[in-house]
Symmetry: C2
Subunit: 338 residues, 2 copies
């Protein structure tokens, strides 16, 4: 069987099974694994140590996750670090050290790599991260892999802590990045010269990890969170699977920027529900903790639904009349497009 | 300018310059960087924490660092983890948590990936490492990136601590992996069926990181070490550059396995000096510490030369008469082969 037939989630499931065969780190080992495979980041503590350390990694491949026309090198550098910082934010931590691996065709202009690092160092400075090492290798296709450590001083937020009765919320609007990408793909050479289009394109190219929001969620005692990277509905499905619960989303409660509705008057809700790379935080909490979180969050949050006791992993999107809204198209499977 | 014109070491130098622009982690940051870019691993401490943590990453790209004929999937998994454990050993630490990133063409058989993880989990079990996460992405070319953390309880060994008067030694024979690779490349379909050839091929496919040897070196107080991954002479040159010193190697003191001399009666010394992927430890120490290290090392070590005060980074290989031995061929530049 090929991995394209098995699909991304089938492969992930197998890999989790295979890697568990190494067992837990042995007793007396230097570190204690607190969160293993399957969350936004792994987490470990050191006996006698003052913090919980987080570990995450994310890769972008030319022609698969970006192209020169959708993502200039400087923005690629920003995004490659941003997606990792967002994973650390989802767990309730702050970023620390990054290892940057570049696979590069030998004909790559040096000026492009200078731009890439300009984008990476810009976001590192802004969020207090530091590039401490990496690897540079020749490759027929360009790729960027960032491994990032983070540090959490308080309780961790995890995918597996959602419970029936929790409210579900997001820390910012969704769909803008997917809208920007669609504009860039539809018209790579001549981008529409209007303010709304440029707002969406910037949301695609320069996502802001929700580190500040994450601190508020931890302070409020929010138990369960993840970042929205593969699309709101699919990511909520993953959180529900990890927690063994189901969820409903009320479509009319999903927050979007006016620019998205203006540029995509027909498709904005699909982009918001099923687009990716939003990098806002999706979280669940009982109503009292949710109320505290809304108070503490600098820009509030939108309550979009609730956790239920249905089929684990199932997410129902309800229209204004409370009826299930059919999904257009299918989700993104990284290995299905062969 | 293209990176192929600039060359690997020119690019590394630029990247180190660019990444330093992020500055040190700010005062009051969660961790303190002890060793930055340019050693086998980065190292950081946590205020009040009991250990020094190490961070390293290494990538293998299909067609660049391996092919299906030189490296079956199970061996690829072993090697991808081994090269990272070796970096941790070079610093004087033990491996802890690994993040594994795979770039895979969608037509890749699932059975191949099962083999890959079998190799990775086998070496993880043997050396006490644990795969805690990673990323699986679609890519037109297969690649494996491993990021590994390690833990050091004692002093770190670094590249920058070699001083004139130090003796230079290696913890095991060199050249065997390069010999095995040459056999595989010369005759991919029919590997010579003899014991010596098989020993070399196993050294290429199943390198053993020198973790036990590393503990002895730390216990002896060895200040400077690195692992031999790009070839003995070139790697000693890097250690000398980092320390601002020069070195001589006595060719007749370089340790090799009898199998290498038997299979390559003419080229064994060039393979030993300039071959790669040996993953033994190269280290330097004043004579008293060297004597202690030789006592403590389970299989001893070979003193191959000494550190001198010549042109920083320069390594002279001397023949039995003490004359400089000319080099055949040139070193490996990852970006020069376009």
């Amino acid at each position: 069987m090929r991995i394209s037939e098995l699909g991304e989630f089938g492969l992930i499931s197998l890999v989790q099974d295979w890697t568990r065969r190494t067992g837990e780190p042995p007793a007396g080992a230097a570190c204690q694994l607190v969160v293993d495979n399957g969350d936004d980041a792994a987490a470990a503590t050191f006996p006698g140590g003052p913090v919980t350390e987080l570990y995450t990694t994310d890769t972008m491949v030319d022609g698969v996750h970006f192209t020169a026309s959708t993502t200039p090198w400087r923005d690629l550098g920003w995004k490659a670090i941003a997606s990792n910082i967002s994973d650390v934010a989802a767990m309730g931590g702050a970023p620390a050290l990054a290892l940057v691996t570049l696979g590069l065709p030998p004909h790559t202009p040096v000026a492009d790599i200078a731009e890439l690092y300009a984008g990476m160092t810009a976001i590192c400075r802004q969020f207090g991260a530091h590039i401490a090492g990496g690897d540079l290798v020749s490759s027929p296709v360009a790729f960027v892999t960032v491994a990032l450590t983070g540090v959490a001083h308080g309780a961790l937020m995890v995918r597996a802590a959602a419970r029936p009765g929790h409210q579900v919320a997001v820390t910012g609007p969704v769909g803008g990045s997917a809208g920007g990408l669609r504009l860039l793909l539809e018209n790579p050479s001549a981008v529409p010269d209007n303010a709304n289009a440029n707002i969406l394109i910037t949301q695609h190219r320069r996502p802001r990890p929700h580190i500040a929001e994450s601190k508020s969620l931890v302070a409020a005692g929010v138990p369960s969170a993840m970042d929205v990277s593969d699309g709101l509905a699919d990511d909520l499905g993953k959180l529900c699977s990890a927690s063994g619960v189901a969820a409903i989303i009320r479509a009319d409660a999903v927050p979007v920027t006016p620019s998205l509705q203006s540029v995509f008057p027909d498709d904005w809700l699909d982009l918001a529900l099923y687009g990716g790379e939003d990098y806002v935080l999706l979280f669940t909490a009982p109503p009292d903790i949710m109320a505290t979180a809304l108070d503490l969050l600098p820009s509030g949050a939108a309550i979009i639904g609730e956790i239920t006791g249905g089929t684990p992993g199932q997410v129902a999107v309800l229209d204004t009349a409370g009826r299930p809204r059919p999904r257009r198209g299918s989700g993104w499977d990284h290995f299905a497009n062969d």
